[in-house]
């Protein structure tokens, strides 16, 4: 998918959601107002993450050369690539969707498909929330769950590569 078609698709998507809000407002004005309040609160929480993503995007555009990405996150990156993706996913904060833009750019520089999947999968391992998970489900359960989530990110990435290929087709204007 090219950046231009992604941008066009994004505007259509937003227009569709706004239309949905219009219909919802006509049918349930009060609940739609509450939905808007929830969205605004969510947007407020999202802003710091968006700031981080913009900074990471800027510095990755500036510093990460195509060669570095191919060597460390590309098809031949080996265990180091898997390790970097898994640790990156575990440490990544906030909702997942702002990170998609970063991967659009990194993929156009040669990032391996499976590593993107590993990053997105290990985001489920929320270290800051571990005490809360332990509170509800116990220590053994929490550690075993996080262990399986980390371990199974690798087969998830490999399986995805079998289905969609190791690398996206090169496109001069790909990436968001």
């Amino acid at each position: 998918m090219t950046a231009r078609s992604a941008a066009r698709g994004g505007i259509w998507f937003l227009a569709a959601v706004l239309t949905l809000y219009g219909f919802a407002y006509m049918l349930y004005p009060v609940s739609t107002g509450y939905a808007m309040d929830r969205s605004l609160a969510l947007a407020g929480r999202l802003l710091p993450v968006l700031g981080i993503v913009v900074l990471v995007l800027f510095f990755s555009n500036l510093l990460l050369e195509r060669e570095w990405v191919r060597e460390n996150l590309g098809v031949h990156s080996g265990p180091r690539g898997w390790f970097l993706a898994a640790v990156g996913g575990i440490l990544a904060a906030g909702p997942v969707y702002p990170w998609y833009a970063l991967f659009g750019g990194l993929r156009s520089k040669g990032m391996r498909t499976g590593l993107m999947a590993v990053f997105l999968y290990t985001r489920a391992v929320k270290l800051p929330l571990l005490p809360l998970l332990i509170h509800y489900f116990g220590l053994a359960y929490s550690l075993i769950l996080f262990g399986y989530l980390t371990l199974l990110s690798l087969p998830a990435g490999l399986l995805l590569e079998r289905l969609v290929g190791k690398q996206a087709p090169a496109s001069p204007d790909s990436g968001a």
Binding site: M1, A6, L14, S39, M116, F137, L152
Partner: protein, 152 residues
């Protein structure tokens, strides 16, 4: 000769800034759409009410848990809290685990955003794999707990 180096640095900074702004311009409408959809879903489909859907066989409960978690949206903390409540109501640990794992790994609400930015095939297959894995991880986690005699 320092001048060409400075010019080169300035050019790279300008290129990076332009690329970043372009990415942001693409991302913002998608992000706004996902945020608005999440608000709508949270208001009209209160996940807490879905607790009544459980109570079948272990596998069906796991499937229901995974399906419910997949369409739910919000902070992962919410999934832990609801998961804890479901456990107290007698829902099986396998179902609750599938629910919690699919909540954080499958993204139905953000699927349009993922498809637009990372490609349709990537997004669809990734979410399908995550859905399947949420049931597998639930089975593995609970089996491991029982094997180690650590089940709650």
């Amino acid at each position: 000769m320092p001048k060409p180096i400075l010019n080169d640095r300035r050019r790279r900074l300008a290129t990076s800034a332009t690329q970043t702004l372009s990415s942001l311009a693409t991302l913002l409408p998608i992000l706004l759409g996902v945020v608005l959809m999440t608000g709508l879903l949270l208001e009209f489909l209160p996940v807490e009410a879905m607790a009544d859907w459980f109570g079948q066989s272990a596998f069906l409960d796991a499937l229901t848990g995974a399906l419910t978690g997949s369409v739910a949206a919000g902070h992962p903390v919410t999934s832990y809290v609801i998961g804890g409540e479901l456990l107290e109501r007698g829902v099986s640990l396998i179902a609750v685990t599938a629910f919690v794992v699919s909540w954080v790994t499958v993204g139905s609400i953000q699927l349009p955003a993922e498809m637009l930015l990372l490609g349709k095939r990537f997004a669809l297959y990734r979410n399908l794999i995550c859905f399947g894995l949420s049931i597998l991880i639930a089975l593995l986690t609970v089996s491991s707990l029982y094997l180690m005699d650590l089940a709650p």
